[in-house]
């Protein structure tokens, strides 16, 4: 039972046979428009066919009574390692971090394990899609967006290559010690030394982009003997501004450098994990740069930081008019994303902005709002049926549909629960 290789097969997403259906008597929370009480939601195939108080249910459609219940669009985790990691401490179960500093050619989609136990566990919280992000060196590879259902990664794919992940060089001088959130025993180095290293790294990144630009030009005017370069080839959509560069930067310096870098390279970026956002609120809003929030269940960055940091970041961004989405980053915590959103509300974020950040805004940021993120005619039938607000722990998620298929909320944890409940 303890071999991860066997275990991951146990909770394979159990897609049941799709059939056309309608839920009636429910309160709809479309997110893109005001709530509709006592409404009907009609699903044909994998799409929402009709919705509203008076939507007609075509003949032969299965009817689900939803009186007293609520339908919300499925939630989106905008930065996860779902399917790339199974057990934190076991290297053999990790496929997040490749060797080497520049790996734009790497594709997460092909390494997502559809049998990962984490997929079912995450679904149970109402999350139906996930942006799976690699990390390693400076450019970690291509992030992909998946439905949390499917027998294969091909079936799961929403966007096989949605963004390019890049991490900013770090200038941490090593800040061990209590309460700082820097972990144990980080080595302390003199500032001059880390600054020199930082500048070198920045130079490497610039150089790589120059190489890619040069390659882009060579490719446009190929000479005899031109040989495609897989690494540089993968950079072209980024250079053309067709694919966003998802830049991970936490602290002020990193964010500042990331913004300057995007400006110089004239590329589209999504800022991820940003924590010291205060100096950049105006600029981010003006340039319409979206943000993927950091994991909000981290300790404040510094001893003298506000006790609400980083839970207070979403409210700041919302107030400044910056678009943002939630990300889990960690394999253990995707299921807590709705609760993080509620905690952000407790720290000043308007509720509707929080709910959107988990659904429609996320879909907009990733360019998939034509298919996902809200309850609208023509969109994928990815939604959840609940007995209340899905951001509260007291609420039970009753049922889930992905692409019109009813998806089981059973998972490794519910199975162990049922199994051992019998032994009490």
């Amino acid at each position: 039972m303890r071999c991860p290789n066997i275990l991951v097969f146990l909770t394979l997403a159990a897609s049941l046979q799709a059939e056309n259906f309608a839920i009636r008597g429910v309160t709809l929370h479309p997110v893109s428009s005001p709530d509709v009480p006592n409404a009907v939601l009609v699903v044909t195939g994998d799409r929402i066919a009709d919705m509203g108080p008076k939507a007609a249910i075509p003949k032969g459609y299965k009817i689900i009574e939803g009186k007293g219940l609520h339908v919300y669009p499925g939630m989106i985790d905008s930065a996860s390692v779902l399917g790339l990691s199974e057990i934190g401490s076991i290297r053999e179960t990790q496929d997040i971090t490749e060797l080497g500093d520049f790996n734009p050619q790497l594709r997460t989609i092909i390494a997502i394990n559809p049998g990962s136990e984490h997929i079912g566990v995450t679904r149970a919280s109402g999350i139906t899609a996930s942006v799976v992000v690699p990390s390693g060196g400076f450019i970690g590879g291509q992030a992909s967006i998946v439905h949390l259902d499917g027998w294969t990664w091909e079936e799961m794919a929403v966007e096989k290559s949605a963004a390019m992940q890049m991490r900013r060089a770090s200038i941490e001088a090593g800040f061990g010690g209590r309460g700082g959130g820097r972990g144990f025993g980080a080595a302390r180095r003199p500032f001059a030394e880390v600054k020199r290293r930082y500048d070198e790294q920045m130079q490497q990144v610039r150089l790589f982009f120059e190489q890619a630009r040069a390659y882009q030009m060579r490719k446009a005017n190929p000479v005899l003997g031109f040989k495609p370069d897989l690494r540089l080839e993968a950079m072209i959509p980024v250079l053309e501004g067709k694919k966003p560069l998802m830049i991970v930067a936490e602290k002020e310096r990193g964010i500042r450098d990331a913004l300057a870098f995007a400006e110089r390279e004239k590329i589209k970026i999504v800022l991820a994990g940003a924590r010291e956002v205060d100096p950049f609120l105006e600029e981010l809003a003006k340039k319409n740069i979206p943000v993927v929030l950091p994991d909000l269940y981290q300790v404040p960055m510094e001893e003298d930081a506000s006790i609400d940091e980083p839970l207070d970041i979403p409210a700041k961004l919302a107030k400044a008019g910056i678009r943002f989405a939630f990300g889990s980053y960690n394999i253990e915590r995707p299921r807590n994303l709705p609760f993080q959103a509620a905690n952000a509300v407790a720290n000043g974020l308007p509720y509707d902005v929080a709910l959107k950040a988990l659904t429609l805004t996320a879909a907009e940021i990733w360019g998939i709002a034509d298919r996902l993120g809200s309850l609208d005619k023509g969109k994928f039938a990815d939604f959840i049926l609940t007995d209340g607000d899905p951001l509260e722990t007291k609420t039970q998620i009753k049922q889930m549909w992905i692409l019109g298929n009813p998806v089981s909320l059973e998972n490794r944890h519910t199975k162990l629960y049922e199994q051992y409940k019998k032994r009490l």
């Binding site: 991860p4 209590r178 006790i307 951001l391 722990t393």
Partner: protein, 443 residues
Amino acid sequence: MNRRLFLSSLAAAPLLYSAGETILIRNAKILTVTKGRVDGSLLIRDGKIAEIGANVLAPTGATIVDAGGGFLMPGIVDCHAHIGSDATNEGSISVSSMVKIEDVLAPDDIQIYRGLAAGVTTSNVLHGSANTIGGQCTVVKMRWGKPATQMIFAGAKPGIKFALGENVKRAGGGTNFSATARYPATRMGVEDVVREAFNDARAYQRQRDEYQTRLAKGERVLPPRRDLKLEPLVEVLEGKRLVHAHCYRSDEILMLLRTAEEYGFKIRTLQHGLEAYKVAKEIAKHGAGVSTFADSWSYKIEAYDAIPYNAALCMKAGVLTSLNTDAPVTQQRHLLQDAAKTQRYGQLSDDEALSLVTINPARQLMIEDRVGSLEVGKDADIVLTDKHPLSMYAKVQKVFVDGEEYFDREKDMRSRAERETRRKALAEKLKPPPPPAQKKGAR
């Protein structure tokens, strides 16, 4: 930023309500946890809860606090934290029962204030899990700003940390703790280390008892050499010291229960006990408590069968169950929400969920006559929240410890601007001075 300076900005200002003051908190929904809900007032006198009721008359001179229709609940008790201490593991040996957290308390650890701000008023501060027998733990009250001696929960029964499983085994070849191999490296070895230790403790106990007996008879006899490592283990054998054992898998849990039974002592709590639900019956029969995580899992192989229903299942089996943070592993600021997660996973009632972080951990630490519920006569360790504390939208507004206000949200908010100014001033000072103007021609 310099910790001392920071501290001064948080703690130098006098507390709004000080020790010994009579305070009447009015207009509150009072969640007693043990005796239902009372909508009304709570009176604090001499640091204790003096009265709870729909209508409580304000004694002359009492300070009135309007709760604004918010909720009062007992101060949260965290049965497992690594905050407020300057050291965690004495990693050199696997039985380090002689070392004490009490000796390394760090009352200026900012994590105390952060925990307090989330409603935690009592913490069991333990050693880490590198060693089979880690050391003597200390129960503290989160009296932020007070010296170490005043942090200690006077009268709390002493405890000792045990640990089983991966962390203990890892110390043998590990990167974190020691460079050289160290026994034990298997769960078999871990059992043996526990048994060897209690084998020694028993022998020491006999020797000491024999000395006392012969002394009582008037014999002239040399006292046995004092053994600081075995003394706390003898206290365990005599039921004077509580065992809090870090464990994960059901097999090692069962092993520890049986070993303890063999040597005639009890395990007070199984800490983490992520697979406790698999042997809940056996745990209930032994009489051990379980103090677990809400939903941590999969970070290592021994946490792969961890389920968020653990607390609910243990409770159902009649095990005294609590939730802990292992702070800073998970944070005290989310402990209340961790309790609320048992309503998603296990559908516990409000009182059951709240008991996991209040009266139950208090019982596990045997301090339930003092804290863990809002009852007349108990310490006035009280938390005020704006919404129901189990809501994800709730925020802690005020925290009292022994009737003293140690946290006030508004005051904290006001202090932020001032802190920012001081921080900037400090950063300004850190800037290097401009280089001296060079004289022309100077080399």
